[in-house]
């Protein structure tokens, strides 16, 4: 206890509870450190708490804390009752909360209040009944003293000498080489994080990213209901989220949603004279144009189409494209226009892709060029 001193009175070791007060209930702390580098300490009045001087108040606090702990016990019991007794699917109206899941609210309330009461009781105990007199402890600098530093350096030197690290040049150099190469297998092993299914090294990432499920003559179907579309079914101002006809077969074959993530398109119809430009001559069909649904910024699906302005807005980063003007960017962080899919009708009168996308869809990548 050499570096531990209570701030109000060293003479009364029973800090906190002892009768350290004078007549008006105030006692003065003693200045402790006035040496160089220290702030001049000052006398601070220490006011004892009600529970320090009034045994009745102390009893009251004791009961209060015990009540909190009892509340915790009660809440745990209620928690178990709620778990067993309330049907998890019932909803109940609770004021303030609204129509909410009854069991979830009951479990959270009982458990939460119970745990809270334990903490509140403990804190109240510390605040009201444990000593509230501040204690001073000295700090010691982190720096080792000169003796220790010398000893450490000596030990290190001795080790260096004994190992001969400085002496055996060949060992040293080969060890460095070995350690430098040691992590390579750990990195090489990561290569098969991506392994094309057909064995071998397969197509390169940029080849994969540049292809979609769209082929020449591929019928266009609606997303969600997968029915082929006749041009007259899309009114002027109409919007259809669409996919290639074979999308579900591809998905079943590949067991993933990759094809969907690239092939999704939007069909919109405007008056033919509203189309100011397109990415290719005659890529529309009687005012129906098809654009990729995948944003060229970072790849969010994008279908916030305003049929009067022909603007297409991305909900993620607000890139805006003009579908009446070749899908060019008119606002926001996207740098590339939306790729257009050339469309026409087949002999049965259904909308089809006239040819695949002529540029990679989705976000830019290094090799895209």
């Amino acid at each position: 206890m050499s570096d531990l001193t209570t701030r109000d009175s060293a003479e009364t070791p029973d800090h906190g509870h002892g009768p350290t007060t004078d007549g008006d209930g105030t006692d003065l702390a003693r200045p402790l450190f006035t040496g160089p580098g220290a702030l001049p300490a000052a006398d601070v009045p220490h006011r004892p708490r009600a529970s320090d001087v009034n045994p009745k108040a102390a009893r009251r606090v004791e009961r209060q804390i015990a009540a909190m702990f009892m509340l915790a016990v009660l809440m745990v019991i209620l928690f178990v009752i709620a778990y067993v007794g309330i049907d998890p699917y019932t909803m109940a109206y609770v004021p303030v909360l609204g129509e909410v899941g009854a069991q979830n609210a009951a479990l959270g309330f009982t458990f939460g209040l119970g745990v809270f009461a334990i903490g509140a009781g403990a804190i109240q105990w510390a605040k009201k009944l444990m000593p509230d007199v501040e204690v001073v402890q000295e700090r010691h600098t982190m720096t080792s003293d000169a003796e220790e530093t010398d000893a450490a350096a000596e030990q290190f030197e001795r080790g260096k000498e004994e190992s001969g690290f400085g002496q055996y040049r060949l060992i040293r150099r080969t060890l460095i080489a070995a350690l430098a190469l040691f992590p390579i297998p750990l990195v090489v092993l990561l290569r098969d994080l991506w392994s094309p299914k057909n064995g071998g090294f397969g197509p390169s990432p940029s080849e994969v990213l540049s292809e979609t499920a769209w082929t020449e003559g591929m019928p266009i179907v609606t997303d969600g209901t997968y029915v082929k579309i006749r041009p007259e079914e899309i009114p002027v101002g109409g919007l259809v989220s669409a996919l290639p006809e074979n999308i579900n077969e591809i998905q079943e074959e590949e067991h993933n949603l990759n094809a969907r993530g690239k092939a999704a398109i939007l069909l919109v119809r405007m008056e033919p004279d509203e189309i100011r430009s397109q990415q290719g001559e005659g890529w529309d069909f009687e005012g129906i144009v098809a654009y990729s649904k995948i944003c060229t910024h970072v790849g969010c699906p994008i279908a916030l189409y305003e049929h009067r302005t022909h603007h297409l807005l991305c909900p993620c980063h607000q890139s805006t494209f003009d579908l009446a003007d070749a899908g060019n960017v008119i606002f926001g962080p996207a740098a590339r226009r939306m790729p257009q899919l050339p469309i026409g009708v087949n002999e049965e009168g259904f909308l089809v892709a006239k040819m695949p996308f002529q540029e990679p869809v989705g976000p830019s990548f290094w090799e895209r060029g």
């Binding site: 450190f33 909410v100 605040k127 204690v135 990432p205 969010c300």
Partner: protein, 581 residues
């Protein structure tokens, strides 16, 4: 001695015989921690992390990290029969078919949000009070790393349910990885096992989320706390508090009860909120498919500033020798965050170098006493906040009936202009406060009471500072520093100074940091000033003698202090008391 104590004692002996634990306890149970509400912020972070760990273990028992498509057949009717990944289906099961599962899931999410929020606010406290200075620079770096890891933990968890919102977030993450020059495309293919979304990513992310990141966080938190323990906590200036002591309460019993109790309090509040307030209602968003999206797709709050930066960035992209560099993504999503985190981590060293300050600092700075640092902090917060606004621009647009385009243009300008303005204003406010502090130290408080002295002079009575106020304000004396001297091109002998450029930069930075600070009074001046105040008080004291019977003091015409029922002028009062005021 009771039986319990006997058993406890013999257990302690048993353990001590094998570990020497008593030596540790003897030294540490009395360890003193200073008390201040802002020292609890780090505790909130720690405790919410413990809640995250506990609830996370429960969730692993039910969650299936699989992207295999299944048909949902649980009890949430509006999704019955819908195709979805097993990950999403199992998260729905946790929410609806495991009793208490929704509570634990919501606790996990709220606690995670709180964990990062508390870390951030804790970091602000440490920054603005200069607690990162020597000897605590390592702990600052660990703290910055913990925040970065917190973001990783949060984002990976946000992505696991594989709902429409989290999948959109992953799609964006994929786009960002793909935008990294040279290695981006391959990196993305390796991480996702090919194209987006693939079938492997959720299970890979799961490992990262439940093992790698929390393991690192746990390790670093341990080191963080050990360093706090070894270095002892910093304290605010106050009576008797010096750079070489700790004034506070002992660990045993006060902090055992307070900190232990606070853990339960944090746990309890998180549980209450988990039970009463919805977070991330994934059943509303639906399963992820890469061709669907919801308006208002937002990341959780801590990613908001990064998303905001992505939103307000102009659309720059260059194609060079057939290769694409997406500045519009690479800069805001990779380069600038990298700079921000690096600058944050290195700040203690930059400041120490610029100021030439090599002392230990265990006594905290009041933010006003380091105006430039405080200005830098407010500048950073302004920058962050503007980007954060950007991250929610669509919600702000619809809530306040504004145009998205106007908000983005405003932010594009404000994010450049706003932080410097914030810096200047903050610095001015700090200097103003310093001036006022100086006045207080020299002249005490202005009481507003005017007194006319016998020879006709009017004085305003100043009241002395209380010891606590004085100690706090006086810390400005310790905090004050003169700038480094200007660098010399040649030394006294005319030899060229090889390090001139570096020294010159350093001197300029030092001047920038300290140059405008208000020179605080010396201790002698303070003593003299306070003595003067005491003298004033002594002059006024006789007037107060009458306070005992007549408590109402009224200012009288001519500004002379007048006690009711007393002669109205000083002269009359003087005469009544025999010429002795």
């Amino acid at each position: 001695m009771s039986t319990v104590e006997k058993v406890g004692g013999s257990v302690a002996t048993y353990v001590d015989n094998r570990t020497g634990s008593n030596r540790f306890l003897a030294r540490n149970l009395k360890k003193v921690f200073p008390d201040h509400w802002s020292f609890m912020l780090g505790e909130i972070a720690l405790y919410s992390f413990i809640v995250v760990l506990l609830t996370g273990v429960f969730l692993t028992l039910f969650y299936k990290p699989s992207m295999v498509e299944v048909v949902y057949d649980g009890s949430y009717v509006p999704l019955k029969g819908v195709m979805m990944s097993e990950a999403y289906a199992s998260t729905l099961d946790i929410s609806f078919d495991v009793r208490g599962g929704l509570l634990i899931r919501q606790m996990h999410h709220w606690a995670a949000l709180l964990f990062i929020a508390a870390m951030s606010v804790h970091m602000m406290r440490v920054f603005f009070t200069g607690a990162f200075r020597k000897p605590r620079e390592f702990n600052w770096i660990i703290g910055v790393t913990l925040i970065a890891l917190g973001l990783a933990a949060g984002f990976s968890g946000y992505s696991l349910p594989d709902d429409l919102l989290s999948g959109t977030g992953l799609q964006i993450a994929r786009g960002i990885i793909q935008a990294i020059p040279i290695v981006g495309t391959w990196g993305a293919f390796l991480l996702f096992d090919g194209e987006f979304p693939g079938t492997e990513f959720i299970s890979r992310l799961y490992g990262v989320h439940i093992l790698l990141v929390p393991g690192l966080i746990l390790a670093l938190v341990t080191v963080h706390l050990m360093l706090v323990w070894v270095q002892k906590h910093t304290q605010f200036p106050g009576p008797g508090r010096t750079n070489n002591n700790v004034v506070g309460y002992p660990l045993m019993p006060i902090y055992m009860a307070k900190a232990g109790g606070f853990f339960f309090v944090v746990f309890g509040v998180i549980t209450l909120i988990g039970g009463l307030v919805t977070v991330n209602p994934i059943w509303i968003f639906g399963p992820y498919t890469p061709d669907q999206v919801s308006a208002g797709s937002q990341p959780d709050w801590y990613i908001g500033w990064l998303d905001g930066m992505l939103r307000i960035m102009p659309n720059w992209e260059t194609v060079l020798f057939g290769y694409t560099i997406s500045w519009n993504i690479f800069l805001p999503a990779v380069v600038i965050p990298g700079i921000v985190f690096t600058a944050a981590a290195l700040y203690p060293f930059l400041e120490a170098w610029a100021t030439g300050d090599k002392r230990d600092h265990n006594l905290l700075d009041r933010p006003r006493n380091a105006p430039v640092r405080t200005g830098i902090g407010v500048m950073a917060i302004t920058f962050y906040f503007l980007l954060f606004i950007g991250g929610g621009n669509d919600i702000i647009a619809i809530t306040f009936d504004l145009s998205i385009n106007s908000i983005i243009w405003f932010l594009r300008i404000a994010v450049i202009v706003g932080p410097p303005i914030a810096f200047l204003i903050t610095k001015r406010i700090c200097l103003g406060l310093q001036r006022r502090d100086r006045e207080k130290l020299l002249h005490g408080y202005e009481s507003g009471r005017i007194l006319r002295l016998p020879h006709g002079e009017f004085i305003e009575v100043h009241e002395p500072l209380t010891p606590k106020e004085r100690a706090v304000i006086e810390s400005a004396v310790e905090a004050y520093h003169t700038p480094l001297p200007a660098a010399q091109k040649t030394d006294a002998n005319g030899v060229r100074n090889k390090h001139y450029r570096r020294e010159n930069l350093r001197a300029k930075l030092s001047h920038w940091f300290y140059g405008d600070a208000i020179v605080p009074p010396t201790y002698d001046e303070i003593e003299a000033g306070q003595a003067h105040v005491a003298h004033d008080a002594a002059i006024e004291a006789p007037l107060h003698e009458h306070d005992v019977d007549t408590t109402v003091m009224v200012p009288f015409h001519g500004g002379i202090l007048h006690t009711e029922g007393e002669p109205a002028t000083n002269r009359e009062q003087l005469e009544e008391r025999g010429g002795n005021l």
